[in-house]
Subunit: 328 residues, 6 copies
């Protein structure tokens, strides 16, 4: 039995090395990623058992995705395997200011997008779990994926399993209007909302003067127990400042701002979610969740790939104080 | 204006380095390939102007495919560019005896498969060309691709442009029955048939005691001006013996048998077609076509990727005699 | 609960790419390997649940070893983690005839070598398992490792769990005399013996005119239920012929001889053990064990690394007949 | 027919990966580059047809240079091929502050340096072209290359084809005095001058308080229709600020200043020239030329290699506003 | 005969490429390094003959270490070769702010750690040398290594060979208390002390308000002829500011502060030592030593690996003035 | 003082990885090689001190060549360093049957080719040496290089230093006639001739029915003390059989025939020369020279690069008997 269950698609991520464009490259580096798998990996690295629920093709690419989840300690026993399907792919070009990093999705007709309500036994999957984590990406993948998301939410509610949602808007998958129409009704099932100012504005059409105010608006509008917002400062592709805040109906929380050198920023939001859930679910403490979330996300920028390879010891060392240039 | 026009899909070929399986690898080498593009590249390398007609997505992957055709001197001015489509992909694992090399196609819903009759101006494309080369793969990709193939054949016939066809059966794309139903009716448009004993049996349900006899059966059955069959001997993944024969209604032709070390066998049949067409169309001489075809194909085994990077000088040197271990 | 439990050390294997010597290389490829882990991986790939029991340092290298076992589906929940220990390493140079491939062990003072009787709860580990698989390497690593091996054997016997042993002589770890003194007394606990003519002669000082006769001598001498011997023919580093035979008190069994191109031969014996145990334990059928063992081992030669990445489908396809050069 | 013709040498650029020195490296990355080819590539990427005129050895290295020009869409039909010549090479070490990146030329006795007046049919080459682009590098390569440059200029003038010149001083090729003696007389043929403050001072011995004033001095001194100067700020090898200005007899023009992360700065000046020519020749609009030139050059810093792989869409998106960290 | 002799262990340094963690990587880049060898290499690059004294296993890894010292011009004729020993290793992960780079030592039971007083003929080794350079790392490796260090110091004193010591505290090898107990008594043999504020505090328990004051305290406390302290400013893993100061009983010296982009900071302190010794021993001039030391160390940050591949010409060019972005 | 002195050019060898053509590759692997340096390296690896005499540019490429000679233990103290010269290069494509491996020289105007009689102090260089080894390549590089070769031969004769010559015909450097005219007169200075049937026929226009007879003809014709001929059998690029024979005026000698897998055949002839000289000069025993030469050359085929990385122990183990597939 695991503490956290996540549900969504994971893809092969194919990226040219050394800042090459796709048109320039003669090889592609492979990583595995997908927002919900990234979160499952994150909490597993921190020491909390997790499972990832998905649908994969029963071919070498599908198996590779499953293998890598397993490598990081994530339970994949509930994954569905489709004969003759295809694995979702995404191509990632790393940029340098003023050229942004760029994603080219190739997930049309993927095995995951064929998922149907009724295919997964949510009662068994959520049995004993403390939290189900979802993102706003899954419902964008197909109408049946959106329905399956709703199915999962309803079952979690029925089983009194907490629900966490990261809004995660993807402009290359759907329009703001489509996202709002699908996601807004799901907000009633959400206990823990993880988001950013931008995604909140785009998807929920809500704005406020500050992250603090926006969190207040969210708490007013939806039956949340906590809203956590991360934010970055700076326009450079290679450098940023990163922090987060959280608000419950009772209190507001802030944490340290991190100066960050960026090796690979993909998955930083997922690391924030993972760290927050680890700290919050583990200790029932919003401050600890926020501290873990922000530190874990800051450290994520230093690893190639979507996954966060930090250990809990390293997060705690960062929370405890500054580190030298080389540890030896 | 070009001498040879080919029509078909080309894909990104993604292969693990160093005999790794897909599940093992952390990077993929990129090559571009597709039977018809490979033939256009081959004749271009040998010095005969060629064009490749296709449909590609207007994204970095589509552009990469077009760029590489251009790099090898192939005219791509008739390629159609689709907004929002996807490029066909195939994953290739290199094997070692007793494990065969293996292809995993990922070309579902590719831009090429959406091609429709009427999209291409065949009159303009074939204007001045001596030959249109097709393969049995294109009609397997979608019903509309099959119709477009028929459209091209009819136009070539009408314009008195010669037609070459390589049967090229692909078991991972369709069944023998489906292939036969689609391809057999097209045989009436074909002047030059390039095939193997296996493909002929599978697609046309024709057999004979020898390649020679089989070529005779083909010439009896269809209005061909020449049939050319290549063959290999040996079961090793890393080594084979390779040759070919040809037959016209008037005569039979054979050429040298080559001992071959295999670096990459993909595209050897296309190199045979290219060499044969170069020699036959250029000099109107079946023997020269056969000699060039077999030598060019034998040399192809030594290059990574689907393309044949030989020069005409090298083919002629091989035809002229044996070569030493190192030329220096 | 798993069907097969294996016990032993796994190491980081560090090898220069492209046939370079260690002195030449500027990088090292990493694989994970160790005879007993290789067997656990093999049966897991074939579909039989397995666990690997070991002792690893709680540092990045130890975690990497555990991760990779997990990636391949092997249960590592019984692995012991040592603070401040070191991971065993081995350096592997790939050769070309007449230069043999060569191993340089660097496993002195590894965490595994500190293992002590009493550290592992064998009752819990073997609970529900059908077989415990060991090799002759583990007792060579330290006196306490030898004692722990004996402890495991005794517990397996007591729990009526079958015992499989692969003799596996390693000349760089101990002398034939030391091996004999340690291993011969353990033979009384063994049900399934997996070996070669060479290892049997070196360790047990037994010889016979043929593998068949030698298996007979082994069955006479020790209380075995089956003895399985693999053998190769040919002196080339890049090519061999490979087969195996088995004998029970009632019958003898042989299987096909495979022509093999060698990408990486390390772990082929372990693949034979895994295939044999999978077939024999699963179906209770020596012939099936032998067929699976030899085919799985033949295919192993085609994968870089110690692990066998074949699927059961591929083994069965090989058993069913020959394969073409490229499957597409 | 093409809009822009450029004339000069292109070389294989060989650079150690990962900031290694040449003495440290065991491999070299290959790129193709040369100021005039870089410009032809740049305008081709932006959508304006271009041709590059040069002289290359008819060997694999010469063919590689030609292939890559073709890959990027540049017409190479006027390139001369020399039997038994050699391709120019240059070795590039990437630095990090305070170590500058460094070029080691190895272009002695290259095929290009043997070029002679009369070898190229400038009338045919420039037929229909709107502009001939040259740089101050070509005349430095050999006396006969300087004469051929003059020949091209005279023919362009005679054909009323506009002439663009980028001064481009190379200290490792010649002294300021030699450069001045050769280049100053050519200025009378130039319509569009592209330069920097430094190159103008070194080669033409002209100085002024500002770029604006210097452009004025140039317009006074030579019969130019426009002078465009680019400039950077900052001493870091990995970061700079980049902009440009332009002046005609009637007006002055400025554009945005870009903060730039540097992956590879080689070819940024050529990208400025390409962007400027694309905008200016295409729309006859200095401001648009300057905007395109500066944006295209800023983006160039983000691509490895001498070529600029940007698309026109990307340049226009940058001109339209800021971009996020990851586009997805 | 050489000018400088250094004594200590050198290891294979194994580091994941591209900022990967050890757990992520599938290959390791090899460099050779060790503080004392790094110094010998540095002075050799600058043009002063040097020898490195050590003990290595007579196996491929030991030979690789010796080869690389030789490649850089260092005399290894006094190195001891041990049959059956092991080479020290260290694993290095490159970080990005806020994750520090991190070293995992694997040097237990290395050949060097078995070194004994009496094994080396110091009289012969130091014959003709001007200086013996040691660091605080060697005595941490084993009691016998500490004794051999003392033996060397006594012999140097007896032979009136100058002694240089770099304190170099390594927290992963010993505690501050153990370091102090061993190193403090050796300070009486030291003529040239090279250190940092941090190491001085940790090992010698000395503090002062400034580097200047601390150098004064050191000169008061120990019979030094010069103390040189380097320092860096800034917390980023990828960027710093670097300088140094020195003090003799008569005077104080300072040098330029360098802005530094960090490719690889390991060995910068050793480069400072090498540059200082080269300048000071060569010209007998503290200012020149300090200038060379700081410039050479600043440049070291730009090279991957522990060694400094700069030439003396490049150091002198840096001392002479600023450098452009690309030298061509 | 060294036992063997060799004299000639060494080059950077640049080769595409993975059997790519030059036109295909995006990177080049670097090795250092040159027949005479290869021989110096070979005898050094076997334990006999050697020096290599040459002329190199004083730039990073020249230094790299010198460094690598030093890495392998070769004395380079007599190498001349030229300001502003260029290093010789050669590009090597690896083939696969029926495509031969191919060399493209780029050594025009190299520093070595400018060498002049009088530049080297042969008296000092040969002082104490037992043998001077030359090849037929050096005189092909320039007239002054041919004169310097003659100068060296005369001085060796005068100093009673033995002379070894490997004829080594290079068709890409000169014609058979030019080679004969230059080399035949030098034969009077040669004591030890190392050659093949092919080179002897091409250069000296001598033929015979067998290697044995040819050696007899050579001994009749020139004042040799021994002639050693190596030969290979088989046309495959990846496999051959290799052996050698030798003849003195008194006796004939043969050695074992080796089956060889070919990783890289370049330098095998140099390895034969090195092994022969090591065995013959060391022990004064032709049979031992021949045995060492053939075994060392057979082993050379297994190493990438021109150099032979074998140790004497490995040669002796091969001479002592067959080796297993993996040594562990």
């Amino acid at each position: 039995m695991v503490d956290l269950v996540t549900f969504g698609e994971a893809m092969l991520r194919l990226s040219p090395p050394d800042f090459k464009r796709l048109e320039q490259t003669t090889s592609l580096d492979i990583n595995i990623g997908g927002a919900e798998l990234n979160v499952a990996v994150g909490v597993s690295r921190l020491g909390m058992p997790s499972a990832w629920v998905s649908k994969l093709p029963d071919n070498p690419l599908g198996r590779m995705i499953g293998n890598k989840a397993r490598e990081l300690g994530v339970d994949i026993s509930h994954v569905l395997w489709e004969k003759d399907g295809r694995a979702g792919l995404y191509f990632l070009e790393f940029g340098a200011t003023p050229r942004a990093s760029s994603v080219l999705y190739d997930r049309t007709a993927s095995s995951f997008s064929t998922i149907q309500p009724g295919e997964l036994d949510w009662g068994k999957i959520l049995d004993g779990a403390r939290c189900l984590h979802l993102t706003g990406i899954t419902p964008a993948l197909s109408p049946s994926a959106a329905e399956t998301t709703r199915e999962a939410l309803q079952k979690a509610r029925a089983m009194r399993c907490q629900v966490s949602l990261d809004l995660n808007y993807r402009a290359k998958l759907w329009s703001p209007e489509a996202a709002r129409e699908t996601l807004e009704p799901l907000m009633d099932f959400v206990d823990i909302l993880i988001t950013t100012q931008g995604d909140t504005r785009t998807i929920l059409d809500l704005e406020a003067d500050s992250d603090l105010d926006l969190a207040g608006v969210l708490l007013d509008r939806f039956p949340l127990e906590v809203a956590a917002l991360s934010f970055r400062e700076g326009d450079s592709v290679w450098k940023c400042r990163w922090s987060a805040m959280a608000r419950t109906p009772e209190a507001t929380y802030s944490t340290r701002m991190y100066d960050v050198d960026i090796v690979d920023q993909v998955g930083r939001g997922d690391s924030f979610a993972a760290g927050f859930l680890y700290g919050y679910l583990g200790a029932g403490d919003v401050q600890r969740g926020l501290d873990f979330g922000a530190a874990f996300a800051a450290l994520k920028h230093s690893f190639p790939g979507d996954f966060n390879w930090c250990t809990r010891d390293e997060v705690e060392a960062l929370l405890a104080g500054p580190r030298p240039g080389v540890s030896r």
